[in-house]
Symmetry: C2
Subunit: 448 residues, 2 copies
Amino acid sequence: MAGPGQSALLTDLYQLTMLDSYWQTGMEDTATFELFTRRLPASRRFLLAAGLEQALDFLETVAVTDDELAWLESTGRFGGKFLDRLGQLRFTGDVWAMPEGTAFFPQEPVLRVEAPLPEAQLVESRLINLIHFPTLICSKAARCVLAAGGKTLVDFGMRRAHGAEAALFAARSAWIAGFAGTATVLAGQRFGLPIFGTMAHSFVQAHDSEAEAFEHFAAARPDGLVLLIDTYDVDRALDTVARLADGDTGLPVHVDAVRLDSGDLLTGARHIRERLDGLGRPEIGVFLSGDLDEYRLAELMDANVPASGFGVGTRLDTSADAPSIDFAYKLQSYAGRPRRKRSPGKATWPGARQVWRTLDSDGRLARDILGPAGGDEPGSPLLTRVMAGGRRVEPAESLDDCRSRAARELERLPTDLRSLELAREGWAPEISSELEALARATDQAFGY
Amino acid sequence: MAGPGQSALLTDLYQLTMLDSYWQTGMEDTATFELFTRRLPASRRFLLAAGLEQALDFLETVAVTDDELAWLESTGRFGGKFLDRLGQLRFTGDVWAMPEGTAFFPQEPVLRVEAPLPEAQLVESRLINLIHFPTLICSKAARCVLAAGGKTLVDFGMRRAHGAEAALFAARSAWIAGFAGTATVLAGQRFGLPIFGTMAHSFVQAHDSEAEAFEHFAAARPDGLVLLIDTYDVDRALDTVARLADGDTGLPVHVDAVRLDSGDLLTGARHIRERLDGLGRPEIGVFLSGDLDEYRLAELMDANVPASGFGVGTRLDTSADAPSIDFAYKLQSYAGRPRRKRSPGKATWPGARQVWRTLDSDGRLARDILGPAGGDEPGSPLLTRVMAGGRRVEPAESLDDCRSRAARELERLPTDLRSLELAREGWAPEISSELEALARATDQAFGY
């Protein structure tokens, strides 16, 4: 991603001040930071990790431009020595991470950075920013996928996503989670995603009649034709669609589906289905959009809505019921010494950590264990090294692989975690006895 | 803003398909589109317009790169003639808009585009995207400003904003609404905003003692020093702060404030205030952060919290209680003929429109009238022409001017609109009799 996202100044001011101090005092030993959530939003049972490729792109290229450096000098906040070093700063550390599409839970690190303290500190703000949002949307989209029972889902959210980058990342995350594709053209180009499109009300309005609008659109879009039927009057629009399909206006036109974008979607879809069948057009599908999310999808599916697919927009791209996750990037050790925070409600487990996952005999998630990274617990470790010395260890993973993993992970979730209803107790990893002992020893070593 | 945001492919696929049809059928007459909200989020009484400068930047520069064009060709969806024209497409239309910082209400157009139909249609998705998010955040930030009663507010939200662009735009919008500045360094560089910083828990943790951490930070940051005191134990940290201020570790250090970022902020701030006073340090302020928004700020201010300022992060940058606004960009007329949509719950008023605003004798908002743009109603018209033939009419407005306007607008709001509580009835413009007549005539002309 070109643009401001690769700037080392896309960070909080305190990171630069801390950097200045670390350099002044020679605190440049290796630090270990981990990215994890302390708790899940009230309406989430699990999260799916996403955004790793963009995070690694950032770490490989983060730098300050000459213009930015000149501006920083002009603020008078930093001295010449600091500015010289900042201008040359590159990220040279190692990174461990869960691959994209992996399901994870509170306290489990998604990503670990081991680097000289100033480097590891500077990248904090943007690293959180780059993992937080894609994970947020991938997790929301996964809930939509679970609710939609295999029906086609398309990301329609670009216009009300929070900016350009959010729109692109949302499309990518939704695809990893199992969406069929996105309406956002540039996401197709950037990430190789399938793109989908229907038509807008303005197209119908711009024509002097709806019939003319449909004919023109069919001429421009002979394949995969979806006609929007609620600009003026649904019944009249359906009659027009049927005439078009019957060839009354010339050659018969193959209409894939009609789209309804307003009113009560369940009642509307049933009415349209009945009417299309009555008009001898059972092959024309009904595509629904308008304020959809996993809750509404579940209601529609429970009511056996006669729909062939759904466009999910604003509520997906903004994760409307939970627009943020409590992601934090915490210092786990410095200079070989484990550290932890003890703030009320925000205490953390010290040291570099690993998650070991065990499945039961049905292939369902049975147990996660959180323990010190060097340890040996039953199960498969979820974090692997993806970057060494500031360079990727392997080429970027394909989005197909991420998507397959996400599908596998959703299948592995126990039934109560797949449900949209609140489970009585959230899933959490077991804390290994080694990690508990380390926390006690860390407090003691720091005199608390 | 460099990057994907200027690409004509940052749009919904249907825009390209409609473009194709418009070109094929020669529908290139002038279209009028307007951007407005149909209703406010349940927790909003007013909105403050923002994002206009970025929208005008986009319209002045929107284009397709050769790479993007080659990719689009490779999809096989569009013919050579279309691709040639798309490659040359530039926006050549006129734009009317409310200036940034203006308060507005449902149905009132924030922006009007008059351009050849294909151009006006293509820019829809990104135009909404560019006005929606900044307006969302400016409106949320204004509520925080009203709640904080003049205390310093700083945007801390970058890390959990939805991507890089969201972080930058949020900082800009918050400043227009009256925030003192932002922690996001790049927003300082891009928009000339004041930047603020404190310190992170990891800084304290990386040191072998909190005292050493505070000394090092004070050396790196002699002015505007804010020390974070809740990494381990607040009381011990305050003793350390007092010793530092007393000069026990060498020369006395000027500490501006201590920052509390966890636990119950009201109880914590009172305790800290008492203890600092007891330590003979009444001049050291208390800066609060952690899950703040306008509701929490109002509670704290009602309880007379002894705080000098607040950092407002995630809930501001995601507009957590209302992460989207129902913004739409609707065709108002084409080829000189007014148009409107009649979909259930989504019907619109036809034709180009203007808003006239009247103040009462106290300078408070008294009445808005929504009517046809050419008309003449009492009050001052809110939309002015900002772009002609695809170029700005005036240079970009200064952010200082936008900020002053926003402050004036907040003062003009009637008391019930300034309140965080739900007003019984939302504010809405009066519909002029001319506009009502035009709506009836439009329906009749289209046979409905």
